[in-house]
Symmetry: C2
């Protein structure tokens, strides 16, 4: 990969000025529950604002595990290659969410991560977090909680894939995006999908055509208005009623 020193430096310079305590994602990301001194320590090992353009890779399957990443802006999809050369999309990640947790055990990324739009991430060196951990157990505890949350999320997805129809799966995704955007201060009812129909289809084990048809049907039913990537949720209550509590993907 060729470097772009000027652009990189500029963005890092501006990025480095934002300490965790001043980050707008403070409530969503790793630092939740940490006090002032802990935060200052944490700030020392976190490198901010690695910027990715749409389609750029954060890491690829087989890459050695170096960092856990926190999404700062934009959105990133993770995928795992399967036989037949195809990819399985394993997740969509919004600002404040952590990435690469599955690589801790093997020290090798099994998944890849690609920016769905221009995005930036913080790099968290897990080794150094562990050093800190012996001083501030809060960071360690926080890591455990985040991974626990991820496991819970995976179980919700399992229920969705096992027990729910294509219709209910798409409803769950729209609802999840709505909730996550809302928590980040964006509109809960109107947003742009950064992922393609094919990405959604892969994520849920459906055919691209099925997803496309569902968007059309949801529109006919007055549930949503959709034109290409832009979505407006017109009946949030009815969407919510399609998704049971254990299937919530937030």
């Amino acid at each position: 990969m060729s470097q772009l020193p000027h652009a990189t430096n500029v963005s890092e310079l501006s990025g480095l000025k934002v300490a965790c305590k001043d980050c707008s994602l403070f409530q969503l990301c790793l630092p939740v529950g940490l006090g002032g001194p802990d935060l200052a320590l944490l700030d020392r090992v976190i490198k901010r604002r690695h910027v990715l353009k749409r389609g750029e890779y954060l890491f690829r399957p087989g890459d050695p595990f170096v960092f856990v990443y926190a999404v700062r802006s934009g959105s990133i999809k993770t995928y795992t290659p399967i036989r037949d050369g195809a990819d399985q999309v394993t997740g969509f990640h919004l600002p404040g969410e952590l990435l690469g947790l599955d690589a801790i055990n093997t020290e090798t990324h099994q998944c890849g991560a690609v920016a769905l739009e221009t995005s930036s991430v913080c790099e968290l060196p897990l080794n150094r977090l562990e050093e800190l951990g012996s001083v501030i157990t809060n960071v360690q505890r926080q890591m455990l909680r985040i991974m626990s949350k991820q496991i819970l999320h995976d179980q919700a997805l399992q229920v969705l894939l096992c027990k729910r129809s294509a219709e209910e799966r798409l409803a769950a995704l729209l609802l999840s995006l709505s909730n996550r955007y809302k928590r980040r201060g964006f509109s809960a009812t109107e947003f742009d999908l950064s992922m393609s129909r094919q990405d959604i289809a892969s994520y849920f084990g459906l055919a691209e055509e099925t997803v496309s048809r569902l968007f059309s049907r949801f529109q006919e039913q007055g549930l949503i208005e959709v034109t290409r990537k832009h979505v407006r949720l017109r009946d949030l209550p009815r969407l919510a009623s399609m998704v049971g509590a254990p299937e919530r993907l937030d």
Copy 2:
């Protein structure tokens, strides 16, 4: 729940004698990678041999999170209740495997856990593990790795549910059980299923009838011999060839 003091005491007395370092599951459970002094500390906070009979619950959805459990013997299934009153089976757990990790974040169990046969577990009080963690970071690191492994497992299941046929899913389960039994010193080709057809069906999002038919078909094809719960794998290579690397559930 009524107590059975005599039986409980007997089993606990015999159980308490086995320190982690002498446990046959040493290579599979939490202690892997820990040195002698660390192990001695760990032993102090782990309570051994809570015994469960078939059908008894280790915890239920909604229970407060107190312990992480390590299976010592037998097998335990986890499930999550879904609307319609039905249950979704979320996992089958063999000796050496950890249980209840999804409750760390909310401090409440979302899942329940039931013994599929007479089983025993060790209780790991996570709070006290965290105390230790500030002394021996190895325990913390080990917890992170185990949770990372779980996340990887969940992704494999996601691929299986999204991209693979009923046939391939069952092959993946049989192969997983084979590998896991083998690692525990049992036969890789002949064992008893502790879970029902319905449990398997629920786990994979299939109908009970489909699972039953698949067992029959596998037998017709000479892949396995099966009578009720007893299974003999007759063509391990061919079974393995049905399951891609990213879908391995081990």
